[in-house]
């Protein structure tokens, strides 16, 4: 599965003949997949078809039994994965934000050495909150009081503040109403510097390419 680009740049993400077995069962088989930089792609398919396993392979949380994964041309290995993760953002369907008030939660990953240089991006927080249709007042609220849709948008904002360029989104608009979902799409779609790989049953949201795992098709 490939989008032909004619550029010399390596794809933002490449899976090359990846096979993953979990508990003796094959969940991903001989899967090859290129996502050029800036493209917005959806992985879809029935439950258990291996969509989340593919995201886990890109993040280095699951090591493929066969094949290789590349991020911006670099193979994901035990040595490279630590630096490569700083180019990736992962937002789950039910994001794990931890305890505390929203402002603290947003600031937490900036304590990591890899993110310290981006700390000044926190100044963009109020602007991003408005853009994603969240009230500024939420910043002082405990995370436990947020709705599922608010948590999803806070997690997205956190990833944006961390200055990541490749977004791995796992059903990330599932809890959003139509207006909030549109706000998210309006942020990502025009950004040629941001690559999105979205695992979703909604094939309209990020549709430069839609890959139905086990039954793929392209849309250009």
């Amino acid at each position: 599965m490939e989008i032909s680009e004619g550029k010399k740049l390596p794809p933002a993400v490449r899976l090359e003949r990846v096979t993953v077995r979990l508990g003796g069962k094959v969940v991903v088989q001989n899967f090859t997949f290129d996502v050029p930089e800036g493209r917005k792609v959806t992985l879809t398919g029935r439950s258990g078809s291996g969509k989340t396993s593919i995201l886990r392979c890109i993040l280095g949380f699951t090591v493929p039994d066969e094949g290789a994964v590349y991020v911006t041309g670099e193979r994901v290995t035990a040595e490279s994965v630590w630096e490569l993760r700083t180019r990736l953002a992962y937002v789950a369907q039910e994001p794990e934000l931890g305890a505390g008030i929203v402002r603290e939660v947003l600031e937490r990953p900036f304590q990591y050495r890899a993110n310290r240089d981006f700390r000044r991006n926190l100044e963009q927080t109020p602007q991003l909150f408005r853009q994603f249709m969240l009230s500024d007042e939420l910043l002082a609220q405990p995370v436990s009081k947020l709705s599922g849709g608010e948590k999803q948008r806070v997690a997205l904002i956190q990833s944006i503040l961390l200055d990541r360029k490749i977004f791995l989104l796992d059903e990330v608009t599932s809890a959003l109403d139509r207006a909030a979902k549109q706000a998210v799409l309006d942020y990502f779609r025009p950004r040629a510097d941001l690559t999105v790989i979205s695992v979703s049953h909604d094939t309209q949201a990020f549709n430069d390419l839609v890959v139905n795992i086990g039954n793929s098709r392209e849309r250009e």
Partner: protein, 263 residues
């Protein structure tokens, strides 16, 4: 102060009469632990008699190498007990934990004997074995709590842990909150004991020194020094145990190696 008052074997046998109280309660209320209790009492008696006989020989000979060997046996037994108590696999944890216990016991023990007591030989049986046993016993309890807390928390909280890695945390950064909580859980009982010692309880060391005929002020000096040695030993051994076992418990990608857990 008076000399140590020995207990005759017949008098010791009388002490077992006191056991009738808990045994009666267990039978009367049908608490399902009668067999376990009897087994525990028999084991305690046999183990202490055997160790007493062995220590008689060790104390009489007082060979430094034999005392050191006995301490190594104590560490080995503690090592296996800790790993069993944590529900983790021996082959992943036995060696790093042995090293942690060795350092966590050795450092405060030798400081106590060499610097505080100013004894010329740090492996003198009279001091090394009882004080080593007290430090090791506390390290054992703290390690079980600390190590189990650390790995179980990461296992249960996998989503949050992986989220930290996905956000660019190095392994040390991602595990720090779990290490903090594990250290807190492991050290809190010792801190609580330190805060109430002398009021809520008269600890074993102090009681032993008083029973041996020393005056109470000498006993409290021993007790203060041993409490500090125990606290240092437990802190050192918990931190070292987690730090050393981490190298075998996580994959190169930072994920927890599931093979460390006993099924």
């Amino acid at each position: 102060m008076s000399e140590t008052v020995d207990i005759g074997y017949a008098n010791l046998a009388l002490a077992y009469i006191l056991l009738l109280i808990p045994l009666f309660l267990i039978v009367w209320y049908r608490v399902p632990m009668l067999g376990q209790t009897i087994q525990g009492i028999v084991r305690m008696t046999l183990q202490l008699v055997l160790v007493g006989l062995y220590l008689e020989v060790v104390f009489r000979l007082d060979y430094l190498w034999l005392n050191g060997l006995w301490l190594l046996v104590m560490i080995t037994v503690a090592d296996v007990s800790v790993v069993r108590g944590t529900g983790l696999r021996l082959r992943f944890f036995a060696l790093p934990l042995f090293a942690a216990l060795l350092v966590g016991l050795g450092a405060p023990l030798f400081f106590f004997i060499g610097v505080v007591l100013r004894r010329p030989m740090p492996l003198e049986a009279q001091f090394a074995i009882p004080i080593g046993g007290m430090i090791l016993g506390n390290c054992l309890r703290a390690d079980i709590i600390g190590i189990r807390n650390f790995y179980e928390a990461i296992h249960k909280d996998e989503k949050a842990f992986l989220n930290a890695l996905a956000q660019g945390a190095r392994l040390g950064e991602a595990t720090r909150p779990y290490l903090r909580n594990a250290a807190h859980a492991a050290l809190a009982p010792t801190v609580a004991v330190m805060a109430t010692v002398g009021i809520v309880s008269l600890p074993g060391m102090m009681t032993g020194v008083i029973l041996a005929g020393a005056d109470p002020l000498t006993a409290i000096k021993y007790q203060i020094a041993i409490m500090i040695a125990i606290f240092s030993g437990t802190a050192l051994t918990v931190a070292l145990a987690i730090w050393l076992t981490m190298k075998r418990s996580f994959t190169g990608y930072g994920t927890l190696d599931e093979r460390i857990f006993r099924k």
